[in-house]
């Protein structure tokens, strides 16, 4: 099987090479009008088919590695180092992306899947797809070169093959690790598609904005994958790392955030190009930057450029990535300089107080946030280069610098949709802002009445209360603004159709899925901010907890019922059984664990979490006191964390809505007529209407 895998990778490289060369020649012939023995159309078709063949070959290679993991083929060095016989099945599958070589294979495989879908859907726009396919082949070649010559996943073990593998990193033996990396990679890799379309459209001087329409769905799906990947990672960190938090501003976390920020900016600013023919160069560079940052993020985790607990082992492939980055940047720059006249804006912004301006500022703030994260991530390298010594740029830096930028973004999320296109009059601003402003003021008063003291920022070094106060207030403003928009539109539909308000809201969203899906996404973002704001009020306690001893935190009492140890083929474990009481009534039993994995000889924490909408009771088994033999239990009471995951769910829902095509005007009209004929919404529902 290793030989088959190696051959499949080599074959995939050959096919991708053909896709690139044949595709480029065909497109060149089409552009210049020159003819040869084979017509450019036929040549382009062979390139497309070779691209599909490359997908088959890369899939075969990925299958070969997974097969080797499931069959405990420890003659493959990668399997020896990332699996063992007792490893449960799902984690053997996860071994595919647990190490450097495997994760690069995952990159190449996902890229080939995207390429496969793109090439199957080539009839959307044959010529533009041919450009995009050729560019994707170029990217694929880079990863296949890496896999064939620099980070080969099918290298064989020299000498005697050990009877068992060294096992998977214990931190990765958690259900979310089976889904988080593929999600994240689907996000990273997926940005290659809009990038390829943008670059292709620029190369061929694509008329109009159709390329944006074609790539919109790709971009949104990719963005959604990246969003899910980031938050699954945060949830994994929260559940596994056991330090009580979900985001540590680690360089690898930052690497995933940067393309997300520029990708979000792109999703917003393309609307300006679609609606008003503006910001064309800006959009092209946004998607270029997003792809470059995705590659840069991959480089960060693999080159040893910055130190991170999540990073793969330091290796020489950093040079490959730098070279690739330089090549991609050069191609982008060269194409842009050559074709920049094609990107001339059709309109200019006419007022500072307009929807266009709000998009512009939104982009600016997103890019400033991205720059801050990039700056913070690379500052240690800069410091070492200039001062000769490294410094750490951790959470305190980001809390002071990035959080205010995030809050400013939340503010813009609220006011942007309230402004009209082209220009907003003072009267309309006053009309639209009254209700959200009142909601903001009322919330501010309630938050202070609940005990939040924002002015403590002037007397202590703690900024948490101030930030959470601002976040809660802005959240109220944004939610009111979004609700008002929904209610206003739904009210009009309800008056015209006689539907109830909820049905009218659904109807409204279906009429303009993009707009109202976007509002739902914004609402989800607000909910996430609320969840994050809760972290300012975290409490923690650490105590040795013997049999029948208790610990109190917040409204909870935790009684230790027992503590013991156990073992299976994969790991040994120590755990405590803790009864949790609230108001004298038992609410749950928690069993935090400390595992020690036999194959890898590494420990791991298994957090026990009792999550409610108000707070998480997050319990860690911190080890045993060697003198008494009693367990040390660390407890966190983290307010509002559940809202972060709920917010992500709302974001997913909103993106899903935005991806659904609009109910066409004709369909809407026919339905409206049908609804108008019926006396009640119930009758409509009974007929399967809206």
């Amino acid at each position: 099987m290793p030989t088959f895998g190696s051959f499949a990778l080599l074959f995939a490289l050959a096919l991708s090479g053909y896709t690139l060369v044949a595709g480029a020649v065909a497109l060149r012939q089409l552009a210049t009008g020159s003819r040869s023995r084979v017509s450019p159309e036929r040549l382009a078709e062979t390139a497309r088919r070779a691209g599909i063949g490359s997908f088959v070959a890369t899939t075969a290679a990925a299958f070969a590695l997974v097969w080797a993991a499931f069959n405990n083929d420890f003659s493959v060095a990668y399997i020896l180092h990332h699996s063992n016989r007792a490893l449960p099945g799902p984690y053997k599958f996860a071994a595919l992306w647990s190490g450097q070589e495997g994760s690069l294979l995952l990159w190449a495989w996902l890229l080939s899947i995207y390429g496969f879908v793109l090439r199957l859907r080539h009839k959307v726009d044959v010529k533009l797809t041919a450009y995009a396919s050729t560019i994707l082949a170029g990217i694929q070649i880079f990863f296949l070169l890496l896999l064939n010559f620099a980070a080969t996943p099918f290298s064989l073990v020299g000498g005697t093959v050990p009877p068992d593998g060294f096992g998977l990193n214990p931190l990765l033996q958690y259900p979310e690790m089976v889904i988080h990396p593929p999600m994240l990679y689907l996000g990273y890799v997926g940005f290659a598609v809009p990038f390829a379309f943008a670059l292709g459209a620029l190369m061929m001087r694509y008329p109009g904005e159709k390329w944006i329409h074609i790539t919109r769905r790709w971009t949104m799906v990719t963005w959604l994958f990246l969003t899910c990947g980031i938050f699954l990672g945060a949830h994994w960190a929260y559940s596994v790392l056991g330090w009580g938090g979900y985001w540590g501003w680690d360089p690898v976390e930052n690497a995933s955030l940067m393309p997300w920020l520029t990708g979000t900016a792109f999703l917003h600013s393309v609307m300006m190009q679609e609606k008003r023919g503006m910001m064309k160069s800006w959009n092209v560079w946004l998607i270029f930057s997003t792809f470059l940052l995705a590659i840069f993020g991959t480089l960060l985790t693999r080159s040893g450029l910055v130190s991170s607990v999540h990073a793969f082992a330091q290796s020489s492939i950093g040079t490959w990535f730098w070279t690739f980055l330089v090549i991609v940047l050069s191609v982008c720059l060269f194409t842009f300089i050559l074709q920049r006249d094609h990107l001339k804006a059709e309109n200019k912004i006419e007022s500072l107080v307009s929807r266009e301006s709000s998009f512009l500022f939104n982009n600016l703030v997103l890019l400033a946030a991205c720059f801050t994260v990039l700056w913070g991530t690379l500052f240690p390298v800069l410091s070492e280069y200039i001062q000769g010594n490294k410094v750490t740029v951790g959470a305190p830096f980001y809390n002071r610098v990035a959080v205010p930028i995030g809050l400013f973004l939340l503010f813009l999320t609220g006011i942007g949709p309230l402004l009209a296109w082209r220009s907003s009059s003072f009267k309309s601003i006053r009309k639209n802002f009254v209700l959200p402003s009142i909601a903001g003021v009322v919330t501010a008063i309630v938050v202070i009445a609940c005990g939040v003291r924002p002015w403590e920022i002037f007397t202590t070094s703690d900024q948490g209360s101030f930030y959470s106060f601002i976040a809660f207030t802005l959240a109220a403003v944004v939610v009111t603004a979004i609700s008002a928009e929904f209610l206003r539109g739904a009210g009009v539909i309800a008056r015209h159709t006689g539907q109830n308000l909820l049905a009218s809201m659904v109807h409204l969203a279906r009429r303009n899925t993009r707009r109202y899906g976007g509002y739902i996404v914004h609402f989800g973002v607000v909910v996430i901010f609320i969840g994050i704001a809760g972290s300012a009020f975290n409490q923690s306690k650490e105590e040795e907890l013997g049999f029948k001893q208790s610990l109190n935190i917040g409204p909870y009492r935790i009684d230790c019922q027992s503590y013991s140890q156990d073992s299976n083929a994969n790991y040994d474990t120590e755990y405590a059984l803790l009864d949790v009481y609230r108001g004298g009534k038992k609410v749950t039993q928690l069993a935090p664990e400390k595992r020690f994995y036999t194959a890898s000889q590494q420990p791991s924490t298994i957090v026990a979490n009792h999550s409610t909408l108000a707070w998480d009771l997050y319990v860690i088994y911190a080890g045993k006191n060697p003198d008494t033999g009693q367990p040390i239990i660390k407890v966190f009471l983290n307010p509002l964390v559940a809202w972060i995951w709920i917010g992500v769910g709302i974001v997913v829902l909103g993106t899903g809505v935005a991806l659904v095509p609009n109910m066409t005007a004709a369909l809407a009209a026919s339905r409206n007529r049908a609804v108008a004929l019926t006396p009640s919404a119930e009758a409509v529902a009974a007929r399967g209407g809206d």
């Binding site: 410094v391 303009n512 080890g623």
Partner: protein, 154 residues
Amino acid sequence: MLKLPGLGRLVTITLVAVITMGAASTAVRYNDLGHKMMCVCGCNQILIECNHLGCPDSDRMLGELRASIAGGSNDDAILTAFQEKYGPTVLAAPMLTKFNVIAWIVPPAVLILGIVATAVLVRRWRLRAAAIPATPPAPHFPAMRERIRRETEL
């Protein structure tokens, strides 16, 4: 007679407040300083949050932190002492010294410059647009306007 109990109460309250403040501030300072430093074992975790089994450094460092606070050193002196002992990477964020101040200044400066530049640019576009006499609307303009109206209003 009435003034003395009042004064007594005031003194007692002040004393209790000062004592409590001191007690609270020690815990707060420990927590604050613990969050301003990193564990040096290579786990990349904030010192007070370092939780991995058998960490060779965090317990010792936290002990040193407790001792430093109890010894009466101020926050800056404690951070400087840790920095001298463990190197600059022990601080979770760069101190405001010489070159490191750039780390703090550049991101907000970039944002402010960006906002100012955008505002100036938009203003210039607006003035330029105002200076050009109004032209009849492009043929596609009403259609576009209708589309915008459809998508923004109901």
